[in-house]
Amino acid sequence: MTTATRAGQAPAALEDKEMLISGSEAIAEALTLADIDVVTAYPIRPYDTVMQAIAKKIANGQLVAEYIVAEGEHSQFEIVKHASTVGARVFCGSSGVGWAYAMECLVVTPALRVPMVAMVGNRALDDPGAFGVEHNDALFVRDLGWLLCWIDSSQEALDTTLIAYRVAEDRRIFLPIAISADGAFLTHSQAITKVPSKSLVDKFLPPYNRGDLQLHPDNPITVAPQVNEDWVIEIRRQNNAATERAYTVIEEAYADFRKVFGRGPENPWFEEYMTEDAEIILIGMGTISLPLKVAIRNMRAQGKKVGLVRLRWFRPFPTEKLVAALSKAKAIGVIDRDYSFGSPFGSGVVANEIRAAMYNADRRPPLLSFICGLGGREVMLEDVYQVTDLCFNAAKTGKSETKTRWLGVRE
């Protein structure tokens, strides 16, 4: 297996099957390859497409798993949480206010060190109703011990799901991972995707072993007793330590992924697009990468040196690497597909995280923050040109504009 390379092509690629599938369907392919044991479903758009895809796989015998349709998201997440504690590999997911309805369970899952993998089909929160993407739903859990990532293609959806189980179930981590996929733009859009063989996946992803934390009559432990002020701060610190260990474990997992499958990024944390000589670096998460990349190519044709950093992992936050990548720019523009009302400068969550990360940097280029594309509104090329022009002005003056601009909004 390891010797049969041809023209630099990794051996794994030869075994891949190519399929035209959506982001949700790609995750379902990965779940089948990961041989999940228990999955719980509850309908809400747009994430529910993944459950429809899994249901078909179970109905057709491609996957053997307990498939439970719950009576609400609270139960949906609690059921798999408990299934995981007896040693089952589990999957769950939701969108928007469905994710919010499960909030209590989302709180206890990392605290119990349950390595659940969940998909968030990012959706605007109610009210008023909107099916389209906003990132506020997944961001609810950013402080709780969930590892959080954003993907932007079907291929990345499949690959990241396999990586997520590997990372979450690593005994050094035992934390849940939420994979965020932009509603409609990724959950429902199809692309050619390489689906690896089961034998390769088995090489990459060991079985889930709950070890001495498994709830079983042969291991009669008491889990999650009342600890009060006697112990809770020590337990919180253990949780924080696990999140810190995730930096190493994620890098190991991506390195192994590249070895086994012959693809995948060198840098797990973020994608850099045309940043090498970029004077202006734009930053975003998820499928906003598509209009940003198109706009950057057009601007490059006019001689403007613009690049993109697409953040994949938001938790743990890749502080050092990101600061190093951004420090070299003359100005940076952060485009949030979320909001944080009343926050510093009225900025979105990502902009303020990056401001915090840059605070101690030796070189801090001006940072401009933007909110765009809420509720699934299209991000137009004109919006990106406007962002870039403002960034070039800031680069000239060396000053950051403190106010946050909302783009593509009717005045």
């Binding site: 044991d37 307990e66 609400g72 139960s75 609690e78 007896v86 432990i221 007793p225 009342q226």
Partner: protein, 337 residues
């Protein structure tokens, strides 16, 4: 080992204890808890898991039997035990059973019938967790027991009114005052009757009271043996919440049944069977007046004759139902010819 669907649906064979002297001596809920003196719910835990035996997993939703039982560094549980959220007893039972089943079916875990019991208080069961319990009772392919220990208030959080608190009771959320003597005007939910009536594929629903310990344990054993999801509702006198001398816990349990306030029965595959004093009442033995029960408890100390009369009338009404004290339906009277 080849696993079949049948083998992962199997339950333990738990024959009824034939009398108190035949009850096993092993304890699976032992020292290490700090429940109140006279706490019947602690006794319910002990009897519940004694009946279930060692190959059991217990899930406990938030409430007295969480906070008072498991204070870190101590645990009374000899069997594996895990906390679940207040409204999650149904989901905890379902998830644990589904996890075990998946692993056994796929050969990832040695196949054996493991009892799964999730308990909840009346706040967690009759109020917040009712939806999840209802859902679990429809999933007939997963074996589990949900046990509701009903001390008729949120007793762990300072005695607040729940949907299972009796009419008029004094709680910290329903204190009697000068302008309003009765702050809690709702009648207690008929949780067991509702769950039995509403879940046609749930094979076993029962009510119990720890004053009748052997009967209670045998109902637990039947619930765990019969297959599929099952439900038991236990009435647990609570000295702190009901305001009485802790030595009277057993007696109050007996009185609740003798007054016809809390009936003892089981519904097995849709067939109602009454037990003990409840059976005698159904067969014509007079019920004791409710005042004998109510006036022994401080939570009803503010009751006037009018309140006692109202309470008695409501209990009398329960015994006019088509299935007395179980299901609140009456047939339409026949039209006169």
């Amino acid at each position: 080992m080849a696993e079949t669907t049948t083998s992962t649906n199997a339950t333990q064979v738990l024959e009824p204890f034939k009398g108190v002297k035949k009850v096993t001596i092993e304890e699976y809920f032992s020292s290490g808890h700090r429940t109140c003196q006279g706490c019947e719910s602690a006794l319910v835990m002990k009897l519940m898991v004694k009946a279930a035996g060692p190959r059991t997993i217990v899930l406990g939703s938030t409430g007295c039997m969480y906070v008072a039982n498991t204070t870190y560094y101590t645990t009374p549980w000899v069997v594996p035990w895990m906390h679940t959220q207040l409204g999650s007893s149904g989901s905890a039972a379902l998830g644990t059973a589904a996890g075990l089943k998946a692993l056994m079916k796929k050969g990832k875990m040695k196949a054996e019938p493991i009892n799964v019991i999730a308990f909840c208080g009346d706040g967690g069961g009759a109020d917040m967790g009712l939806g999840a319990i209802s859902a679990t009772l429809t999933h007939k392919e997963y074996n589990s027991l949900i046990l509701l220990y009903d001390n008729e208030s949120y007793a762990n959080t300072d005695i607040q009114v729940s949907g299972s608190t009796p009419y008029g009771a004094h709680t910290t959320f329903s204190p009697p005052g000068k302008a309003r003597r009765i702050m809690h005007t709702r009648w207690k939910k008929n949780t067991a009757g509702m769950l039995a009536a509403g879940h046609p594929e749930c094979r076993y629903v029962a009510t119990v009271c720890a004053s009748y310990a052997v009967e209670m344990m045998n109902k637990v054993r039947k619930a765990l043996s019969i297959g599929g999801p099952t439900f038991i509702h236990s009435l647990d006198p609570c000295p702190k919440g009901w305001d009485y001398d802790p030595m009277l816990s057993h007696e109050l349990g007996e009185l609740a049944i003798e007054c016809g306030i809390f009936p003892l029965y089981e519904v097995e595959d849709g067939v109602v069977k009454y037990y003990g004093k409840t059976k005698a009442i159904v067969e014509g033995r007079p019920r004791k007046p409710v005042r004998e029960y109510l006036l022994k408890q401080g939570r009803f100390a503010h009751f006037t004759e009018e309140d006692l009369t109202y309470f008695q009338a409501k209990v009398d009404e329960m015994w006019t139902w088509e299935i007395p004290a179980v299901a609140a339906f009456r047939k339409e009277p026949k039209a006169k010819a």
